[in-house]
Assembly symmetry: C2
Homo-oligomer: 615 residues x 2
């Protein structure tokens, strides 16, 4: 039977064969676990995704959220799925069992989120935000705050949000106007309006804990004056029991292109002057604190897009195998209709989708694995190295996965043809749902500025170089494997060109041509993503090629095809090598042109007068 | 005030300065016209688009079409707009006044369609199909058919459709199963079901004339056995008066991603055995005849996407000028908020959108102009040359404009950020509406196969070479203009590389590697589109640069900026030169990488076993 969401075999491959996550069990933190536990975990996560979340997909789109007099109702089918998620402790896969977590590696949290998002992206937003808000309390809360909030949040009984955006403070959070006024008892009265607050109000959870960015009266303008507050929907007594309504009012929910099941709320805090918040962490450290959640969510959003793309790919693949239409182009006049997977252009779209999905899977899981390495690190240098790697990769995981994820989702519509444009099939919905990922938690442009303006230069460029060094180690190893020599060369050359481009662009960004350089921030991020995916594919091929050779020996041509047809593993490994060849020889080759274009450094985008844009 | 649809100045520029359409008036056919008539025509078209069609946009999406017991209702606001369209003879801009046309050049029909589609793509489908069906009658109808049908169709009182697709015959039209049975009176009884029939049933028009592909009983399978029939919704008496219902039943309409205002119908012909059709043209020539309409509609669909992209660009531009968010990246801590057009990444998106929109405008109008040249040609060679040029460009106009059009529409959402994802602003709707254009009238993949499999080889490759020769003539002329030398070189080099790529790919397509070659058909089409747009931009710059120099002299830097700020024409022409620089130096440079990738000729897409795709 066709798989509905992320390819099971490929997920296993990345976890067990490419990243060898079993190695994590050598560390004390994960010493109670083993690969069997991991496999069981993934099986359960898939079950939940396929059997409980996936069935909510269509209703989620067609029914959407209800809004009536400040009350928001989620699609009815969400209740059961969310309850099961809570019961199974799926909100906090990688967290301490003491606060309601499963104590699993972070890489598995990434893999589970891919499954949940692939089943229904809109649904996945609720647990994702609840968890992120809980992590803030865990990191910065007082002992009392932890005691009161943590378990209810990690277990999903209480939800969470991220209250940053205001009507005139979107990408520019520092411009916010929400005010916090000190009360004599140490709490703060919060007043202001926040927009685009996902899960801001809903009937899934008993209470909602809003981390709210606001400015304490008298504090400076801009980012340095921002503090962060925990503002519950219902006040919480010190014993954790719910108290009275805290004057947080949902004024409206947005009508959107997609994710109709996700309530996007406008919230007013304290319309009656009765909204009380508790300071989280120190005053005026709000942005720094919120970034802990923001970084987690950026990685999560990349994985959401991966999940949407994974599902779109498998749907399109299944459709292409079933749908008979047209003759094989090499058949004569008397040719019979064939499944459209036999048509070269459909195959090109499918292998391209596969290459992006699998490359992004490797990238996102790898980044999760880096977080685990930081977690299990015994020395500070080691921990810092892996944390820096995560920091560098975060904008790429976010922006590249979401941009390419949207592309894959759109290609799925194209594979379906006219049917893909109808609501009879799910691909158009998934494409609409996925489009939010390039926007929320910082647009692609914001991520690209982060990469070019901050991340590339981290540690004097050493963090970037260290990544390239690891890539080169893969190149060296792959170059020794029969059949991969040419691919290894291409990846190496692309990495060299990326370094060259980074140097040129980085230098420009600090000089007179800064504006022109930043106009190339997005193209650079895309090129860097291409090169990293080239690395991931070479790595995959390096793992797969020897295993393929073990099964099929030195066969080529028709003999190889027969051997591949006869053995599932051979088919999988051969697919790995060929997908890598496609990505590296085609897509990565095209990417060299993108880098040439960046190196030209055309400044027209920033030199052109505003009036010359027309309109 | 901000312009709502296609930039007026740029439209004028292409018509009057780039293509110099006034020259057409030298021919006898257009001798009654002059550039003033043309300008007046464009002004009226814009008025109609902005004042009457644009206001239907939102209702069209939100209300959509109604379906009740076989009856389809269009969004109510369509009625007035359509009536005005008919009254002004806007359906048949370039047709003979004797049959209800305006007798204008075809290039102006293209320009008007851009405006109408930019105002509401879903609405534009009705007149577009009505006209296309009328052209079939004009080309292939008997005198009686012309007398009975033509005027009512050209004037829009009767609508038209294209009835090709069936549940198992989409891209593979030859597989259709609709049957035509000869009646003793020379008519045919039609029975069968057609799907995805735009405007198949609606309450806009008194009658609908369906050109239906069907197989006469006993005729051979596949394309060679297909004939085409005129099948009216209400039978038509020989005096043109409407007769009884012709047993054409709408069973359902599709729920779709977008174009909700366009009724996409499933039609059953003759459920009670009472559906009568008249043969159009000769028996078994149905496909050839339908291709006349198909080719017109393919060009129209490219223009629809251009219209959607034009509007998206202007909306995003206007938003970027109004929306204050964030500081200028070179400003210090005390910097004030600036309109987002000041941010380099927003400018990059805007200039890229501008470059695609304007390049596609030139391409699509140019192709309309080629049709005019064929029309006014006095010798057969000349006519054949321009018709061949149109045939070669048709798949590129269709596929490239729609793919890049969708990209522009998606980028518009990105410029708006979170607001763009909401239904409060029109850009998400336009993106959903535009997505159909890559699918209907032959998917991008079908266009690419047409280009690689047929069009490139037309006239032994001479048609392609003739196009490149004209491009090279522009290169030679541009190389002599100060400031354009480098751009001219790049366009020339890109054209050379395109020819090289075409040779390699064309040879592969005819040999053993045919499958792998056709897997590169879409990338090739895209690269060819890039090169042609490079040509169009160089041509634009060639026209603009001397005019700019005339206004601003030899000024550079701040002096130039001041001169440009002081003069609208200078701002426009400077924008032309800089947009060309951006397209040619950045986007066309990146395209060289795409061509390298095609030349590698990686065959993994077609070599990989079906099982290796996973799932």
């Amino acid at each position: 039977m066709a798989q509905a969401i992320s390819d099971r075999r490929d997920v296993q491959f990345v976890l067990n064969e490419q990243l060898s996550i079993g190695g994590l069990c050598e560390s004390e933190i994960y010493s109670d676990l083993n690969t069997k536990t991991f496999d069981l975990f993934m099986k359960e996560a898939r079950n939940l995704a396929v059997k409980e979340i996936l069935p909510t997909l269509k209703e989620s789109d067609q029914q959407g959220c209800g809004f009536d007099n400040g009350k928001v109702t989620v699609p009815p089918s969400f209740h059961r799925a969310y309850k099961l998620l809570c019961e199974g402790e799926w909100l906090s896969v990688a967290d301490d069992p003491e606060v309601g977590g499963q104590g699993m590696p972070i890489v598995l949290a990434a893999a589970a989120l891919e499954l949940f998002s692939g089943a229904n992206l809109a649904f996945s937003i609720y647990p994702m935000l609840g968890h992120g808000a809980a992590k803030l309390v865990e990191h910065y809360g007082t002992d009392l705050q932890k005691k009161v909030y943590l378990k209810n949040m990690f277990t999903g009984h209480w939800g969470g949000t991220m209250c940053l955006t205001e009507p005139s403070a979107g990408s520019d959070v520092g411009a916010l106007t929400t005010v916090a006024k000190r009360n004599p008892d140490g709490t703060y009265s919060i007043s202001g309006t926040k927009i685009f607050i996902s899960a801001g109000e809903n009937d899934l959870v008993e209470n909602i804990i809003h981390p709210v960015l606001a400015r304490i009266e008298g504090d400076p303008e801009g980012t340095p004056g921002i503090s962060i507050f925990l503002v519950p929907k219902y006040r919480v007594n010190q014993d954790g029991s719910p108290g009275e309504f805290n004057d947080v009012v949902c004024d409206r929910i947005e009508e959107k292109m997609g994710i109709h099941g996700s309530a996007t709320c406008q919230l007013t805090f304290g319309p009656k002057g009765q909204c009380v918040g508790e300071l989280l962490g120190e005053e005026r450290k709000g942005m720094r604190i919120m970034f802990v959640m923001m970084n987690e969510e950026r990685l999560n959003v990349g994985i959401q897009a991966l999940g949407a793309a994974s599902s779109s790919y498998l749907l399109a693949l299944d459709y292409a195998r079933q749908r008979v239409q047209g003759k094989h182009i090499l058949s004569g006049k008397d040719g019979q209709g064939v499944p459209i997977i036999q048509h070269p252009d459909i195959r090109r779209m499918l292998i391209q989708m596969k290459a992006y999905v699998e490359g992004m899977r490797s990238l996102n899981y790898y980044t999760g694995m880096c977080m685990d390495r930081a977690r299990v690190a015994t020395g500070e240098d080691d921990r810092a190295k892996w944390q820096a790697r995560v920091d560098l990769l975060t904008p790429i995981c976010k922006a590249y996965s979401t941009e390419m994820g949207c592309k894959v989702c759109t290609d799925a519509i194209q594979v379906y043809g006219g049917y893909g444009y109808t609501q009879e099939y799910p691909v158009e919905q998934i494409a609409r749902d996925c489009k939010i990922t390039t926007i929320y938690e910082g647009t692609t442009g914001i991520q690209a500025m982060d990469l070019l303006g901050r991340k590339l230069a981290m540690g004097g460029g050493q963090v970037f170089l260290s990544l390239i060094n690891d890539l080169k180690a893969t190149v060296d190893a792959a170059a020794k494997i029969a059949g991969l020599e040419e691919m290894a060369k291409r990846v190496s050359a692309a990495a060299d060109k990326l370094m060259e481009t980074a140097q040129i662009l980085g230098k420009s960004a600090r000089g007179e041509k800064a504006l022109a350089a930043f106009a190339n921030a997005c193209p650079f991020l895309e090129a860097m993503g291409d090169v990293i995916l080239g690395w991931m594919h070479l790595w995959r091929a390096m793992v797969a090629a020897p295993k393929l050779a073990k099964i099929v020996g030195q066969k080529t041509g028709a003999d190889l095809a027969a051997a591949v047809a006869a053995n599932k593993d051979a088919a999988f490994y051969d697919g790995q090598v060929r997908t890598a060849a496609y990505f590296i020889n085609s897509l990565l080759t095209a990417s060299l042109g993108k880098m040439d274009a960046i190196q030209v450094g055309e400044s027209a985008p920033v030199d052109m007068a505003d009036a010359s844009f027309g309109g």
